[in-house]
């Protein structure tokens, strides 16, 4: 099989790049990125070929555990996620080529980058539990080491520590999941698992474990706490990979277990992913709207998108359990397309944030502003990403969200009362999330790129090197193209959908043009992206022309209206916090017990007035801080046991012996 050999060679090249980067220093480290880009291209090409031809490649290697060996398999599902992963790696590598060879390369980042890339590809190729968990752990550890690369920063260390703990919990859960799937016979190859679906109770436990394992990696509430700390702490191109791509590997893991290995679904399997996903979507954006750190906002938005994808996966499970294959295909296509689209626009946004960070040295929104004049290209690309993330037509984010809403609208047809009645609530929560996403990105873009600079650094910013512009430009192009060609992408998914839900999109190609995306009925549920794009273009161009006609002929630049206060400070502009205030008042009180306090000095006193907001993260308090305190308290109590006298240790041993003997005497 030449394809798998090509993939193997590319993975070998990544491993060689990692080893090479540990041996050299200085400018030679820059060679890592072209090598990674080439490897990603090769891997992506193989994936694309497998996806388009709908073939399935398998390979068994005699390495790994004795008697099990190493099973590799590239089926359409792996190939699809491989395209997602390698697209992200390619963009991040091209971005990396723009780094300053003298200053920006360190041996803390460059050797780990190809390792991280190779590990994510290996997870997709694995066809037995051992290979899967091994590469999953490799992926976790490589990304952890990248998070801790800036270890001088205590925030970074804290994030890395939390990430390590959560990754360990997630892997342990996956270990249980595969243990349940392997059954008493211990068949750890995925083929054996497929042949022997577990008992219903075991299947439920496996599903829960998979949800914990993959959900903690993807950032599903309440396992999300590490994500907004760890993703922004890494270097920006790695943040793009972690947020845009690694979360997709987590989703791949869930799809692989829930749709492929676990056998025919029961309808109630759909409830946990749907409910948690909807909660994640809304809560993620509520965090995002209130946060003031550019990269952290993007990480919270990732949490929201993972929630959206989980909702779609849950709907697909519900439809499939009820034998509604058409609707299942729509929901599944929504999940997969959203994974692809999110990987593009989130990578773009993180690379844009990296460009801003590089140009200004700041991530706090309230220290930015006016960048559209100083970094025009980055600003344009970031705008495309922000529009796509807000799911506005004709960009790619809208395509998958539209498909998801079609699936939600079809959900009341489900016979089970729980799903039946939950579907309007889910639809409402998703709609709220979509609206909050728009608000969130208006806020981010408006504060960072519009207005006047709020700091000296922002005022002196300049655009980034060409390679980094190419990386962002390519992704922005993909976001636009993915929006226009949504129907083509959905058709290309047919082999994956056939494997997972028993058939592709039912009415693909029945619309008026090739570019019409049809969900169920060509008469009612059609999204015709090029037509809409044309309409948007015509409408905005007409408006532009009319406005220019009606206005004065020449554009003049003059001072902005200053409300009668000459020379105002940039601090008088809308800030990120003030923009979020209405949303904080509406939702913050319920979600975060937000309390605002205003301290006004008495009249005549020249002290400044103080305004402060206190937010409480209930999830953190209940599920992270409280157990942490309990463990700490218990260990402090038990600590005394380490400082007893010899005689007391002997007494303890003797007591244990006597008690055990007494038990033996009583029970035998």
């Amino acid at each position: 099989m030449p394809e798998l050999s090509a993939s193997g060679a590319a993975l070998g090249a990544l491993a060689a790049a990692a080893v090479f980067a540990t041996l050299v220093r200085g400018a030679a480290l820059a060679l890592v990125y072209p090598l990674c880009a080439v490897a990603a291209l090769v891997l992506g090409a193989v994936d694309l070929r497998v996806l388009l031809t709908g073939t399935e490649l398998t390979q068994q290697l005699p390495i790994g555990l004795p008697t099990i060996g190493l099973h590799l398999r590239l089926d359409p599902l792996s190939a699809f996620f491989g395209i997602v992963v390698n697209g992200g790696i390619l963009a991040a590598s091209v971005y990396g080529m723009g780094f300053d060879r003298a200053k920006e390369l360190t041996r803390r980042v460059e050797p780990l980058f190809p390792l991280f890339a190779a590990a994510m590809n290996l997870v997709l190729l694995a066809d037995d539990a051992y290979a899967f968990l091994f590469s999953w752990e490799l992926m976790s550890l490589a990304s952890w080491a990248l998070v801790v690369a800036r270890h001088a920063d205590p925030e970074s260390r804290r994030a890395a520590h939390l990430y390590l703990v959560m990754a360990a919990i997630g892997t342990a859960a996956l270990l249980f999941a595969f243990g349940g799937l392997a059954g008493p016979a211990g068949g750890y190859a995925f083929d054996t698992m497929r042949g022997h679906p577990p008992q219903p109770m075991v299947a439920a436990l496996v599903l829960a474990a998979a949800l914990i394992g993959c959900g903690s990696k993807g950032g599903l509430v309440p396992l999300h706490a590490w994500l907004p700390l760890a993703h922004p702490a890494a270097p920006s191109h790695v943040s793009a990979l972690m947020s845009g791509v690694m979360t997709k590997v987590a989703i791949y893991g869930f799809v692989r277990i829930a749709f492929d290995l676990l056998g025919p679904p029961a309808w109630w399997w759909a409830l946990p992913p749907i409910i948690l996903g909807a909660l994640t979507a809304v809560l993620g954006l509520l965090y995002a709207v209130l946060d003031r750190d550019l990269k952290r906002v993007l990480a919270y938005s990732t949490i929201e998108n993972v929630g959206v994808i989980f909702v779609a996966l849950g709907l697909a499970l519900a439809f499939r359990a009820n034998g509604e294959h058409e609707a299942a295909a729509v929901a599944m296509a929504a999940a997969l397309l959203h994974a692809l689209n999110h990987s593009w626009f989130k990578s773009l946004l993180f690379l844009g944030a990296g460009a801003v960070l590089h140009a200004t040295g700041r991530r706090d929104l309230d220290g930015l502003g006016g960048l559209i004049h100083r970094m025009p290209r980055t600003a344009a690309f970031f705008l495309v990403g922000a529009l796509a993330a807000s799911a506005l037509p004709p960009l790619n984010g809208f395509v998958s969200e539209w498909l998801l809403f079609q699936a939600v609208i079809a959900a009341p047809a489900l016979p089970q009362a729980a799903l039946h009645f939950a579907s309007p609530a889910i639809g409402a929560m998703l709609a709220l999330a979509a609206a909050l996403a728009a608000a969130c990105f208006v806020r981010v873009y408006g504060t960072a790129f519009l207005g006047r600079p709020r700091s000296a650094e922002a005022a002196q910013a300049h655009d980034v090197p060409l390679a980094q512009q190419i990386a962002m430009g390519g992704l922005a192009f993909l976001c636009i193209l993915g929006g226009l060609l949504g129907s083509v992408l959905a058709t290309a998914l047919a082999p994956v959908l056939a494997d997972l839900v028993g058939g592709g999109l039912p009415r693909a190609g029945s619309g008026p043009t090739v570019f019409s995306l049809v969900a169920f009925d060509p008469a009612r549920s059609v999204y015709d992206a090029p037509v809409i794009a044309l309409f948007v273009a015509i409408a905005s161009l007409t408006t532009l022309v009319v406005v220019h006609r009606l206005s004065a002929r020449r554009t003049r630049r003059g001072p902005a209206w200053d409300c009668g206060f000459p020379d105002p400070s940039p601090a008088t502009q809308y800030t990120a916090s003030s923009f979020a205030q209405p949303l904080r008042r509406v939702y913050g009180t319920a979600a975060f017990a937000a309390r605002e306090t205003v301290v006004m000095p008495p009249p005549g006193d020249s002290q400044p007035a103080r305004f402060s907001v206190v937010l409480v993260d209930h999830v953190w308090r209940a599920l992270y801080a409280a157990p942490g305190r309990a463990v700490l308290g218990l260990s402090e109590r038990l600590n005394a046991l380490q400082f007893l006298t010899i005689r007391r240790y002997l007494v303890l041993m003797f007591a244990a012996l006597v008690i055990l003997l007494a038990i033996a005497a009583v029970t035998t």
């Binding site: 006298t645 010899i646 005689r647 003797f654 012996l657 003997l661 033996a664």
Partner: protein, 219 residues
């Protein structure tokens, strides 16, 4: 044949009595005497088992027990005690009465346990085993109710006596194992001895409570 078991039970019973005697001795010298008595009775019991069941290798075990634990170790410990000047009253953690009551309960436990666990074996072997287990438990008890390092050594050696007795009752324990057990006990004894001297050098006493006081630990 019955007579052989009667005599071996008599000797094992005598060892158990000396174990109780160890528990209530007030002075270090008396503790050492009781220990020597127990070791000599052990040697007799082992020798009787060797003679009655015709296993001549057990005579070597008996000889080791007699010379090493019946004579050499008690004499050595006695000389140490005189040299260190600690042949006075032994401090106890719990009173004699309570210690004896606990010892009685342990003996009962050993009896009950062996009756339950070894119900398949012959009754004489079972009783032998029960007595040995009781001696082991009493040795352990001795280690934790006394505060003196020398008496802890004696408690440890008394446990080892119980082990030898059990091994004699259980047929087929090879001599190599016994020799190695005896050897390891000897090593442990050396360690204890060095330990005792170190305590003495530093704190002018062998009361192990001094270690706790040094560490700032309150009782």
């Amino acid at each position: 044949m019955n007579q052989a078991y009667e005599i071996s039970h008599l000797l094992s019973g005598a060892m158990l009595v000396t174990s109780f005697a160890l528990l209530y001795q007030q002075r270090v010298a008396a503790v050492l005497n009781a220990f020597a008595a127990q070791s000599i009775v052990l040697a007799l019991a082992v020798a009787w088992a060797a003679w009655s069941s015709n296993r001549p290798d057990l005579f070597i075990t008996a000889l080791i027990a007699f010379t090493l634990k019946g004579i050499v170790i008690p004499v050595a410990l006695r000389r140490t005690v005189t040299r260190l000047g600690i042949h006075r009253e032994v401090e106890k953690v719990v009173g004699v009465g309570a210690a004896l009551l606990v010892g009685l309960a342990l003996t009962g436990l050993a009896q009950a346990l062996v009756v339950k666990v070894a119900s398949g074996t012959a009754s004489h072997a079972r009783e032998e085993l029960a007595l040995a287990l009781a001696i082991i438990l009493l040795g352990f008890l001795m280690m934790i109710v006394r505060r003196n390092a020398v008496t802890q050594i004696v408690g440890f050696m008394s446990m080892e006596n119980g082990l030898i007795l059990a091994a004699t009752g259980a047929r087929g324990m090879p001599l190599v194992v016994e020799v190695s057990v005896a050897f390891s006990v000897l090593i442990a004894l050396f360690v204890f001895a060095v330990f005792v001297f170190r305590i003495r050098e530093r704190f002018d006493t062998v009361d192990i409570e001094a270690l706790d006081r040094m560490r700032g630990d309150r009782r």
